[in-house]
């Protein structure tokens, strides 16, 4: 649990808030590169961390990321014309370059103003199908997170984005929560022909129900994949170790029928947005748009030629809302009939991301964690909050937040999902581990 006050600190992200200040010290994935496909294409409006910006690709192909409103009279530059190496406001024709230089002020003949003042502009990096921006103090950028997929060609990446109507922490915590996988996603595992067939007293009555659902690692269609989830153990042992980028955590389960082995899923959490999940060929990145809306971005490496850099959702198109860019999720109807007949556990067609979205948004627009009852299986979520809280304190003291990855080779950060000998260390599976076990005080005997 958190106090109501601490919950507010961790959840609110606007300018000047404690967490907003922390998040502005990291590179933030802000938009899909597929939305700016060519020089001088239409600009896009981007809302992140409670602020609105305009992103555009100029005549030379360089991406600019500027404060949305024209610094003259406040018209939105998203209405503007992208032309001749800049973006021009429709209202009075002021024109800006990608670095914020005010190039022209048609209704102000003297150059003094535009020579002395620049429009708000932020560093941009293009990587992994995404445009990343840095909104912190100039010159304080951390190392850029060059993940293994950062330099992949567009046809090797599937990038998807779900805009969800809830606070970002609800979605981020879900992305690193291992103990729900064999429960909420029981339908998914059944479709894969793997994993448990029951949750408590619930048993599947028949064959898997949602045969069209996308399943991890296999975007379209799926034959049975026995062995992907070789365990009936719904109470994994959780181990977490801090790293220079955040932490690794391992969910360790018994292997059904083989006591000499263990089934280990190792997730890498990279501060402050990204989870590389064991058994998945990519990452889930959760970025706050504002306090009550976030984007859950999936970036997945796929066989060359299979990449879809735009609108690759992996879910039924019918669930997508009308705006913006058809990415806001609307939950499908929960199939109570299938649930009652024992054909489905969760009743949501569309796979893991739909099931996750349903429960994450069901907590309301901003869940009050003072009401929750955490259990030890929530250790990864607990550690996430600890790192964020530590970062808030450090930044308030004038230092940098934790997990900015100084000296870290992001391309070597991996997750893992594997059966290993019971005596083998899970850290062997993740070469970039660099674990530093959290020191804790000794428990005392009663």
């Amino acid at each position: 649990m958190l106090t109501a006050e601490e919950n507010e600190v961790l959840c609110r992200v606007g300018p000047g808030t404690p967490m907003g200040t922390v998040l502005r010290r990291y590179w933030t994935p802000a938009f899909q590169l597929g939305d700016l496909p060519a020089p001088d294409c239409p600009p896009i409006r981007v809302t992140i961390l409670g602020e609105s910006f305009v992103a555009f690709r100029d005549t030379n192909g360089t991406v600019g990321f500027l404060d949305e409103l024209c610094c003259h009279r406040g018209a939105s530059l998203t209405l503007g014309r992208v032309e001749d190496c800049g973006i021009r406001c429709l209202y009075h024709g002021w024109k800006y370059a990608v670095d914020g230089t005010i190039m022209e002020t048609p209704n102000l003949a003297t150059p003094t103003f535009r020579e002395r003042v620049k429009h708000g502009a932020y560093p941009v990096r293009e990587a992994g199908g995404l445009g990343w921006v840095y909104l912190g103090p100039p010159g304080s950028e951390p190392p850029f997170p060059e993940f293994s997929w950062a330099s992949a060609e567009p046809d090797e990446l599937a990038v998807s984005e779900m805009i969800m109507d809830c606070n970002w922490m609800q979605v981020l915590e879900g992305s690193i929560d291992s103990s729900h996988v064999a429960i909420l996603h029981l339908d998914t595992l059944a479709t894969m022909g793997s994993g448990p067939r029951s949750v408590g007293s619930f048993d599947f009555a028949g064959e898997p129900w949602d045969l069209d659902m996308p399943v991890p690692g296999n975007r379209q269609g799926q034959g049975p994949r026995p062995g992907v989830w070789p365990s009936d153990d719904n109470a994994p042992r959780i181990e977490v170790e801090n790293t220079p980028f955040g932490f690794h955590y391992a969910a360790i389960r018994d292997v059904t029928g083989d006591p000499g082995k263990k089934f280990v899923r190792v997730t890498a959490f990279v501060m402050p947005y990204t989870a590389l999940i064991g058994g998945s060929p990519g990452a889930v990145i959760v970025v706050p748009r504002d306090d009550y809306t976030c984007s859950s971005i999936g970036v997945f490496k796929v066989p060359k030629g299979a990449g879809l850099t735009r609108r690759a959702t992996g879910v039924d198109p019918a669930v997508w809302g009308p705006e913006p860019a058809n990415r806001r999720i609307r939950l499908p109807r929960q199939d109570r009939e299938a649930m009652a007949e024992g054909k489905s556990f969760a009743g949501f067609r569309g796979g893991n991301r739909i099931q996750d979205a349903a429960v994450q948004m069901s907590s309301g627009e901003m869940y009050d964690r003072a009401k929750e009852h955490l259990v030890p299986a929530d250790l990864a979520i607990i550690r996430l909050r600890r790192l964020l809280a530590d970062s808030v304190r450090l930044v308030e003291e004038g230092q940098g937040p934790v997990g900015r990855g100084e000296g870290c080779d992001f391309s070597r950060i991996t997750a893992a999902s594997q059966i290993i000998d019971a005596e083998q260390a899970w850290q062997d599976l993740v070469p970039a581990h660099h674990g530093t076990p959290e020191p804790s005080r000794k428990a005392v005997a009663s």
Partner: protein, 79 residues
């Protein structure tokens, strides 16, 4: 401000350590300030006379425990 995230993280880590050494955990000692914060967050449970619990353990207020150093109480498992 009281940072419960620190308290909970330290307590949870101790629980897993105790379990890893084969012990069973019985209660969680916290400072009066932490106890009070949990109590104020759960007026419904107090009103129903439920025990205050954190991480599945009964919570015990202890003046000897520092705010950010919770203590998990455990005992050796006996067969």
């Amino acid at each position: 401000m009281l940072w419960m995230s620190v308290v909970v993280d330290k307590a949870c880590t101790q629980i897993w350590e105790a379990w890893g050494s084969g012990a069973s955990v019985t209660s969680l000692k916290v400072s009066p300030a932490v106890y009070s914060a949990v109590a104020s967050a759960r007026p419904g449970e107090i009103a129903r006379d439920y025990p205050l619990m954190l991480l599945g353990l009964p919570l015990v207020a202890d003046d000897e425990v520092a705010t950010y150093d919770p203590v998990v109480v455990w005992k050796e498992r006996t067969c």
